[in-house]
Each structure stands twice: as structure tokens, then as C-alpha cells.
């Protein structure tokens, strides 16, 4: 992946994240510098895409970000949400985010294809990928990370 296409894909990921978090969960997110303290995650959400390039998006959401997303989407208090509901809305968030990113890179043409999103307990479950970029975000004061991997 050359530098120019790298920046194009990362730009598409940032725009897709901003649009998806705003439209689905009413949360403003912006790219930011990596936090000084390492982020802690209980699990990772992953989705693959096949066109216009092949790769994977990984979303690393700390508990507080998950809470904000799930409460905003469902309009209910975190304690009233079942774990299945929380997992489902995070998977759907990544599904829509990936669709927005791939669709913008494909120019709205038919062809972009994404997998069903999946929940992973460790990135060790994934095949090793050498070409990955981390993008750090600020979600209304809370940090999270997205990683874009593959041969875009």
C-alpha cells in the first residue's frame, strides 16, 4: 500500500467513523493523538471487506465508550441493557461504519462487499497482518481506537 492510498483509506475510515457515530449514536468523534496511558479492552469487534480493496477494520472500544454508544442507541440506562443487546449494537455500529467507508471508496457503485461483523476476545484469533494502521479517536472526551489492516 503506498502512502497516498494509505492516507485515502485512513481518511475514509475517519469520515465513516464520524458519520456513523453521529448518525447512529449521536456522538461526536474526532481523530486524536494516541493516549498517554494504554487503552483497556474486554474484546475487539472485527469486520472484513473484499472490495474495492481487501482488508479488515478492528474497533477497540473501552467500556465507557461502549456504555455511551449503547445507551444512546437504545435510549436506555446501561444497567437495563442485556449483554446481547450491547454486543449487537456494537456489531451493527461497525457494520454500518464499514459500509460507509467502503461505499465512499467505491464511489457508490455496486461491488463493495463486507462480511458479517464478529466479536473477538483477542486479536490473537486473527490471521497475522503486516500492513495495519491505528487511528485514535476522541469520543466526547473518551478515547478509543480503530485499526485498518490489509491490502487496500
Amino acid at each position: 500500500m503506498d502512502r497516498q492510498s494509505d492516507e485515502r483509506w485512513i481518511g475514509a475510515l475517519v469520515e465513516a467513523a464520524q458519520k456513523t457515530f453521529a448518525d447512529m449514536a449521536f456522538i461526536d468523534v474526532n481523530p486524536t493523538e494516541p493516549p498517554s496511558e494504554p487503552l483497556t479492552f474486554s474484546h475487539v469487534i472485527s469486520i472484513e471487506f473484499r472490495t474495492p480493496g481487501t482488508g479488515r477494520i478492528l474497533l477497540f472500544l473501552p467500556q465507557e465508550v461502549k456504555k455511551m454508544v449503547a445507551e444512546n442507541i437504545y435510549g436506555r440506562d446501561w444497567k437495563s441493557l442485556r449483554s446481547e443487546e450491547i454486543d449487537d449494537c456494537l456489531l451493527e455500529l461497525l457494520n454500518v461504519l464499514a459500509g460507509n467507508m467502503v461505499d465512499s471508496l467505491g464511489g457508490g457503485q455496486a461491488g463493495p462487499t463486507i462480511s458479517l461483523p464478529e466479536l473477538l476476545f483477542s486479536v490473537a484469533d486473527l490471521p497475522a497482518e503486516s500492513d495495519c494502521d491505528d487511528v485514535h479517536f476522541d469520543a466526547e472526551g473518551l478515547p478509543f481506537k480503530a485499526t485498518l489492516c490489509g491490502n487496500q
Binding site: T51, V96, A110
Partner: protein
């Protein structure tokens, strides 16, 4: 306008958002049925008549395109209007979907405004 609407999507979150957006777009009196994939939706349609079907494309067990093709050969559903609601993660074009009687394709995430426009145009 549509008294019974079937929402087919593997995500419960997505089904909830779809239902809310259609209610806010003017279909607050409609009753909504839900299925998590094309296979379950097909089974429901054996003994339940619906006036509108809203379906995702990317689903386990039976995807949206297979489901729509099946609808078109069953006498009770061959003329039922279908709206596709997708994150565009499919290799099927809108033209191909319309050839199977899909009245419009809406991109996720839905908004009540985009649904209202689609209902007006449809």
C-alpha cells in the same frame, strides 16, 4: 397505508432502529413483525400476510437476495412491496434488486427523513 410490516435483519438493534424510523415517518399505526434472517421470515410468511417487507441483504442462513427471489415466486408474496435496507455491503446492484421488484434501497443508518422520502417516492 401498510397495516402489517415485516422487518428482516439479523441485528436486533437494526430492527429496532428501522421500526422507530418507519413509525416516526408516519407509520405509527402499523404493526411490525420481525425476523432475524430470510429463512425465518419465509417461515413466518407461510401463515401471515404482510403489506410491506423491509429486508437487509447480508444475513446468515438465508441472505436478502435469496429471500427476495423466493418472495417473487410465492403466490401470496409475489406482489408484496419490498424495501431493501442495507449498509451497502453487498455485491448486488440497485438495478438488479429493482429487477426483482424492490421498490427502493435505503442505506444504513436510516433516518425518519430518509424513510419519509422513500415512502413518498414509492
Amino acid at each position: 397505508m401498510y397495516s402489517t410490516i415485516l422487518v428482516v435483519d439479523d441485528s436486533a438493534t437494526s430492527r429496532m432502529i428501522i421500526k422507530k424510523c418507519f413509525q416516526m415517518a408516519g407509520l405509527e399505526d402499523s404493526s411490525f413483525l420481525e425476523a432475524e434472517d430470510g429463512l425465518k421470515a419465509a417461515a413466518m410468511l407461510q401463515d401471515q400476510k404482510v403489506d410491506l417487507i423491509l429486508t437487509d441483504l447480508k444475513m446468515p442462513k438465508m441472505d436478502g437476495v435469496t429471500f427476495i427471489k423466493k418472495l417473487r415466486v410465492w403466490p401470496t408474496t409475489k406482489d408484496t412491496p419490498v424495501i431493501v435496507i442495507s449498509s451497502m455491503g453487498s455485491d448486488v446492484s440497485e438495478v438488479d434488486l429493482k429487477a426483482h421488484g424492490v421498490i427502493c434501497v435505503l442505506k444504513k443508518p436510516l433516518s425518519p427523513e430518509s424513510v419519509a422520502r422513500a415512502l413518498e417516492d414509492g
